[in-house]
Symmetry: C2
Subunit: 376 residues, 2 copies
């Protein structure tokens, strides 16, 4: 591969932005939603089907992959792209977030985190240096700094100490990453819900210098209102000429609200996880396919949706395969949800380019307010 990592802003509308990230593995249209391929697979989807939904980039999880099948094994097999049959860009997280959530199984020091595997109890270390090494072995296109992320609510001292540790780790991540043309390293802003800490973090990151900047430490229990309050100012603290990535978000209305506030990239397990539990996201809100009201309904989930679940099957069928515990239920609903998310991103990209983002938001809200179709 040749080529470099670059971000080009094409248009803004209010704070909302659209553009493109170019990488040696292909273009990422922004705002971008990244489906999550935790264990080297977007659950219940072939990668060509994920691509068919419109996804330009996937997210892989360092924590899961380092434990199984291990980064060294993936490296020997030619890297994560070849391993999982996805030749377009991959962003990997640093492992930090998932390790921190192993509350009873980890020990945090200045050096890094010692933890026990949830799979077999074996002991492992993650440090900024080791996280950079793992993400290099995986062949990640967009590498995330190793950081600490406290669950909210937490008191200010805890948030401040954690943010400053993350900034020291950001410097160590930058040093360990080195110079890798065509690969990007993103810093992660922390600071919880505190504007001053967010500003301090943003300044520290820019002093180090990154190819992109994430807003971290949100979607950890604070609720949408608090998250949006942070997003009213946090993205503006980050450089306008670099992509801004909101980690782990979210529901469709979270995503629209984040884009409205200047976010360019997002990821979340929600569309795939919800697909497996029978929740479908549609223009008209969430549909719970296991509800008995669907059992005789010949209509598609959404008559305006072009995904295979909506083109080829009735609600009655989707209800049936969910109730029968069939794998096809997870396959079809995951496909639908990922399709819906990507279509939402595409509509936002067009609306921003056309300077119609407010109109888009009004229609988004109006369709959701209608609610799901009437009972038969």
């Amino acid at each position: 591969m040749s080529g470099h990592f670059s971000f080009t802003l094409a248009a803004t509308d209010g704070k909302a932005r659209t553009g493109r990230i170019d990488t040696p593995r292909g273009e990422i249209r922004t705002p971008a939603f990244m489906p999550v391929g935790t264990a080297a697979t977007v659950k219940a989807m072939l990668p060509e089907s994920v691509r068919a939904t419109g996804a330009d980039i996937l997210l892989g999880n360092t924590y899961h992959l380092m434990l199984r099948p291990t980064a060294e094994r993936i490296d020997r097999l030619g890297g994560l792209h070849r391993f999982m049959n996805w030749d377009r860009p991959i962003l990997t997280d640093s492992g930090g977030f998932q390790v921190m959530s192993l509350t009873d199984l980890r020990k945090l020091t200045e050096e890094g985190v010692r933890f026990k595997s949830h799979i077999d109890g074996s002991e492992h270390w993650l440090t900024p240096e080791r996280s950079m090494e793992i993400q290099r072995l995986l062949g990640s296109d967009i590498v995330m700094c190793f950081d600490e992320c406290p669950a909210l609510p937490a008191d200010r001292d805890r948030i401040e100490a954690s943010m400053r540790l993350s900034m020291r780790w950001a410097q160590r991540s930058r040093d360990a990453f080195g110079d890798r043309p065509g690969h990007a390293l993103f810093g992660i802003q922390q600071g919880g819900l505190d504007g001053d800490l967010r500003a301090e973090s943003a300044e520290a990151l820019q002093a180090i210098g990154f190819d992109g900047y994430a807003v971290g430490g949100l979607a950890v229990g604070e609720g949408q209102e608090a998250m949006f309050r942070v997003l009213d100012t946090a993205p503006d603290m980050l450089p306008a000429d670099k992509p801004r990535y909101l980690m782990g978000v979210g529901k469709p209305d979270d995503i629209v609200g984040a884009v409205a506030r200047g976010i360019d990239m997002m990821d979340c397990v929600l569309p795939s996880r919800s697909g497996r539990t029978g929740q479908a996201f549609t223009r008209r809100g969430t549909v719970n396919i296991k509800n008995a009201r669907h059992q005789d309904d010949p209509r598609p989930l959404d008559e305006a949706c072009a995904c295979p679940a909506c083109r080829n099957y009735s609600r009655a069928y989707l209800h049936h395969v969910f109730r029968a515990g069939e794998i096809l239920s997870s396959m079809l609903l995951t496909w639908h949800n990922l399709h819906y998310y990507q279509e939402l991103m595409q509509q936002m990209r067009v609306a921003i380019a056309d300077h119609q983002f407010e109109e888009f938001q009004a229609q988004f809200d109006a369709e959701r307010a209608q609610g799901d179709v009437s009972p038969l």
Copy 2:
């Protein structure tokens, strides 16, 4: 739909036969393997993917569908084809075999079988007349007679009494089926491992007259040797100008042996069920993908196979997703197994047409004798 059900024999080689069944919903090339779509889905497969493996026809299970979502509901929704998005032929079993296997939950009389649902314990009746009604509501293209099928070993009196009951039910099935152009009714030969009873059953069925004839009561624990002994004579007792269907068979070598003995159609859950438990069928025998020897193996399951699992993934990856409990493991291995089965059928059809079936069998045996690839 217009058109009629017909069977055309194109070539024979020894006892092996190749030809085609024409139905208003399309052609079925014989010998044919029918993937099983128990609950209105071939597990872990989109129907278009099942078709892509080369399947011309699916099997649906009356027992499962009558309980959930019910035949009446499927009928209201436009029939099984539309319900499950498969517009080609569907064969449905009669429910008899599965009801009989509910040993503790059913009561058998001359009239039929009363049984309790494995899902919710609710009570149901199956009779020849009700089975015909259900299969009509489903919209089945090839309908099977309602029969009784004792597990083997069983004593001769039990087999004889059961076979004669099945023949009385065959007449009732024929009467209840009526005249339905474009739809076929198949009789089912019983008689266990006893040649005289098989002959009596074949004669009774022909006296009634059916569009095709199944060899029933095998693959119920008797072993391949005993099954082949029956198949050395049973198919010859059935009319040469009608399709002969061996129910519930089997492993690849069972299938080749059955075709060699004059069988035209088969069905089995084995390729899909094995796919979900990590067993892959290949030219060189069965590969257990969960075995640790695959964990670093960059080679495909079978370098000569054109299925997506073999084209796009290493054994190491298939091992990983199986171990990680990922749905994709079931998807890929099921696809591979169904592809392998359909390729086997296609090779047999060509070999029979070319009068090379013995050579085909010799190569089939030789490749299997080689065993799986050498360890790395």
